[in-house]
Symmetry: C2
Amino acid sequence: MFGLVLDFELSNKPKYIQLYEAIKSEIESGRLSKNEKLPSVRQLIGLLGVSKATVENAYQQLMVEGYIESRNKSGYYVGDFEFGLMTQKAYSPNPNPPKASRPKRFNTDDAEESAFQFGEWKKAVNRVLEYETKSLLSYGEVQGESALRHEIAQFVHQSRGVKCAPDQIVIGAGIQYLFSMIAICFRNTTQKMAFEYPGFTKGMFVFEDLGYEMARIPVEKDGINVTALEDSGAKMVYVSPSHQYPTGSIMTIKKRLQLLEWARKNDGLIIEDDYDSLLRYEGYPVPALQGLGEGAHVIYMGSFSKLLMPALRISFMILPKQLMERFAVLLPRYSQSVSKIDQLALAHYMAEGAFERHIRRIKKIYGRKNQLLVEAFKTIPHPGIALVGSSSGLHVTLSFDARIDLKGVTYECAELGIVLESVAGEQLGRYVVFSYSGIPDHEMEMVVEKLVRVTQRHWHP
Amino acid sequence: MFGLVLDFELSNKPKYIQLYEAIKSEIESGRLSKNEKLPSVRQLIGLLGVSKATVENAYQQLMVEGYIESRNKSGYYVGDFEFGLMTQKAYSPNPNPPKASRPKRFNTDDAEESAFQFGEWKKAVNRVLEYETKSLLSYGEVQGESALRHEIAQFVHQSRGVKCAPDQIVIGAGIQYLFSMIAICFRNTTQKMAFEYPGFTKGMFVFEDLGYEMARIPVEKDGINVTALEDSGAKMVYVSPSHQYPTGSIMTIKKRLQLLEWARKNDGLIIEDDYDSLLRYEGYPVPALQGLGEGAHVIYMGSFSKLLMPALRISFMILPKQLMERFAVLLPRYSQSVSKIDQLALAHYMAEGAFERHIRRIKKIYGRKNQLLVEAFKTIPHPGIALVGSSSGLHVTLSFDARIDLKGVTYECAELGIVLESVAGEQLGRYVVFSYSGIPDHEMEMVVEKLVRVTQRHWHP
């Protein structure tokens, strides 16, 4: 039964937010039960004496978050799910429900809520929208705004020893987008692309989809197998030397030099993805290949999605000077793919030091989480599961005993909001990546316990 | 000589903005002349008694806008350009200087400054950054946020008669990005792509770069030549029926039905770019092909860059139901390319009616500009230039007498901020597109006069 009573005077929040929060809490507490019909917009206007916009905005927000749904002309209903600690299931008419619309407390691969100070980002965005409006009415620079490229050049130099001028930098809406630029640029030169394997599956997709033959090169404890790379005959290779995804291995300096030597000898190209090098919790950060090789033969790539927030789509690549001419033909064929507002806001955010402060903050937050996770695995017996590569990043890799049904584990965990990602693409391997960035500190042990419990139910007979 | 005196107490603006504005005005007025060296950051701190951040922010802003430049370790200098009404030349060490960094009053292809009410956009963005922060810490939906897809579905239905469900919509960072998805999706089925010609050059680039053979189909007064399309053997074709770019022709209903018939008979696919259909100033808007064909055989495309502001990179495509399954395999291979903040902000902006109000406003603004332009061409004699297709959009197409050196005209106009775009790609044709959205009303006649004057200097002997 819907018996909502609201005194809007008690809060300063906009009315629609108050209404949204009230209905949400009715649902979460179970006072509104699953599939229950909600009052129509008109009824709610009458009931609460609010405007149409207030009701519509509140309903829209609840729909966005998946709490309610509008069913074919018959009105609004509470979604088809039950709330319970960590066990709520998503209502999914669709076998692959979009994450964002699931009602949930957290998914383990979200960012930690306290990790991002929205205030500083808001300040940067508003500064652009207040003082740089004129520049927002024209199209952006093809390679990205120069203000941002200046900041990035400075930042990667200071934090990672990367050597470049701002005009070597290309900004794009995600690593995949930049990959497609590289793939297009070289498709008349080579049809073969080498990737660390297991590795960055979505990266492989781009090259595969653009017609490249894929050479999957094994990753060893100290990084990619350079001999296997040499034997493959490929001229381009993707590596993540500072923290290999998903094995977590770190490329030794010996191997780094070997790989650079391979590039020099073969006129090869190394695509270095440095995606979470700044989140190392032990020892010194490993220097970037790009700096080690004086910038030749290496395209260095970075992204702000992991470091800043997943909602932003800003990545960048740094081209070797030797390739500038080649890309100079290609780049003007494509319009810049990142909003100028976001680019200028990020430039301000970096110039003001907010980005550096942010990195320091999340390193602390995620470092602590990493430690809690490692401790939880020490405390809780976990037969059949081994923890590998745990000293950096926002995820750990787990390896499972061959007698465990990994598919079953992954599926059941997903329903609990525990995100395990298989690393070998279609066929499920023995390894999964477990993201823990979204787990609140005090629930770390509980989540690991749940994971272990689920696993024990899936031993093959 | 640098003799700036500033009383920061006289204004409420941040100090760095005051300093920025003061130096800018010194440059614009000529009191600081071109190539003049500016005081160092340290000197300015001493001179004005401000903080380092204030000086650095002001200098950064001036650099972003191209007023000053930092020269190789020797400090900051005023740029190498002169200010004067409409005649300032850009300092360009680089043969293709990025537009955004040119010091200028306007380029004729900017958006009109009063056309966009930044207040409403700011409100929408801040709402997201205040109340939806939790959702910004997780990755977005592959096809784009459902809140935005709902708004778009409603909007294209009401304004353009397009029929679709939100789950047929895919959001992406620009039309080119969405083109690449289409090209990838079909590359194993067909290697040929047909385009209206002359037409959307940057669109052709995408298909060419992904290995498609290009069939260039002539555009007639009533739209694409369907017989030539049939003869080409292509199964996919790009058209802009409601306002062909660049000829400005509008596809007649007869031709629309012919084209749909072609698609039905050949199991063909029509990519309908409806990019500025809402900016028609005469008569009724032409209905979309998509609605006419009941959604089959047509991918409908729209973009918010032209309609809202160029700084935003949000486009969308609407897939026919028949193709959903095919794209369902491809789409999850790619991460969403548009910032979730922008998507949610746009959803709010549309839900609140701000977008509709905006469209009404710019229709008025640009309609008036269009009229002023047409009148200017009536008033001013313009031998050798003809105006074609002038009843919609933000640009007109000009056709030039064969005895005029078009390359020379285009080049000289560019230096005056008059943006003429050749339409045939590499080889300069007889047609150019003249964008007028950035010309203030009271300068329309002057700009047309300048254009005519430049042209008269370039008759071949």
